[in-house]
Symmetry: C2
Subunit: 195 residues, 2 copies
């Protein structure tokens, strides 16, 4: 988390630094992003950065937190009763929605899929835990075959959804169609056969 000196800054300056981070992390993966570039974007001296943040991870986590607050209104309320695949499609639609008003945010998420740094991997693992639970519940509900490996399932979805977004060239319609196709294939593949 940012140091106290950062929190003492004016809202304007904090915003400027946040925006600079968003810009950099939406253009380069976390691993490739440059602190030098962030301070350049923000117009603050090198020394100040280290007075505000411990390192790159520190500002990244701060940024993610702020982004979450920012898109809070855009995101549909989480309906616990929805099936796993409903959740996935909802999230894909949210990605597109976010991409419309805050294209950088969606890009930041997408870039995690090609980052294999320990830091990012850990972050994703935490974020996916919730979905693992939903899959398990859907198995008990009889929606998903119990022999399906939840870890494999969430990985398939996750890497496809974000890879696709990364390479869709921001063609939102094409993106959603492809995600829909993929999700339908996987849904069909893991569904308990009726009758």
């Amino acid at each position: 988390m940012p140091k106290e000196t950062f929190h003492n800054l004016s809202e304007e300056k904090k915003k400027r630094i946040f925006d600079a981070a968003v810009q950099e992390f939406s253009e380069r993966r976390f691993s490739d992003a440059s602190i030098n570039q962030i301070i350049k974007n923000a117009g603050i001296p090198k020394g100040s950065f280290y007075q505000y943040f411990a390192d790159k991870e520190d500002i990244y986590l701060y940024m993610v937190e702020q982004m979450a607050r920012d898109i809070h209104d855009i995101i549909e309320p989480f309906n616990l009763n929805d099936s796993f695949f409903a959740h996935v499609m909802q999230r894909a639609k949210e990605t597109v929605k976010v991409g419309k008003t805050r294209p950088e945010y969606a890009k930041i998420g997408a870039l995690t899929v090609i980052d294999n740094s320990d830091f990012i991997l850990q972050l994703l693992k935490t974020g996916n835990a919730k979905y693992i639970e939903i899959i398990e519940r859907d198995k008990q509900r009889g929606l998903i075959k119990p022999e399906i490996d939840s870890g494999v399932l969430i990985k398939m979805i996750y890497i496809f959804v974000f890879n696709e977004y990364l390479y869709s060239g921001f063609d939102e319609t094409g993106y959603l169609e492809n995600v829909e196709s993929a999700v339908q294939i996987i849904k069909q593949g893991v569904a308990v056969q009726q009758g």
Copy 2:
């Protein structure tokens, strides 16, 4: 392709340079790999590198070509009649097989999945074209639903197979099991329903 000066070198020296490239490209993605590191591994001066190769792309393509020759014996003969999914599983098994004798080779392949440089993307696109054809043929054969998007299908498989390898920690058994799981899900998801 390498310059003539390179081809004039002794086999020993060419081998040394090839090995150095393999080492570097198996530790870092193409985008992150360093020419400085390669010349250090090979024990050749900087100037010599540029006398042999135009740039990083040049030596990468040379390396890939040599690797293909090297694993020619390991790879099963390509059976055109095999279904798409048989091809995929065969290739996953080959990856494991190659990984046993030449772990670096498999790693080099896996690292392409997290590289979004134009150079690597183009390379993959070319390599996937063959599989698109096989998918189309399987549709006509009645094995795969005709409405399935071939591009989506190959992407799903490709990114999963290599992502999984990248993060499997070289647990070959676990890797093959997960690929098998994923392939089964997708196979089930795209299969023409019997009866």
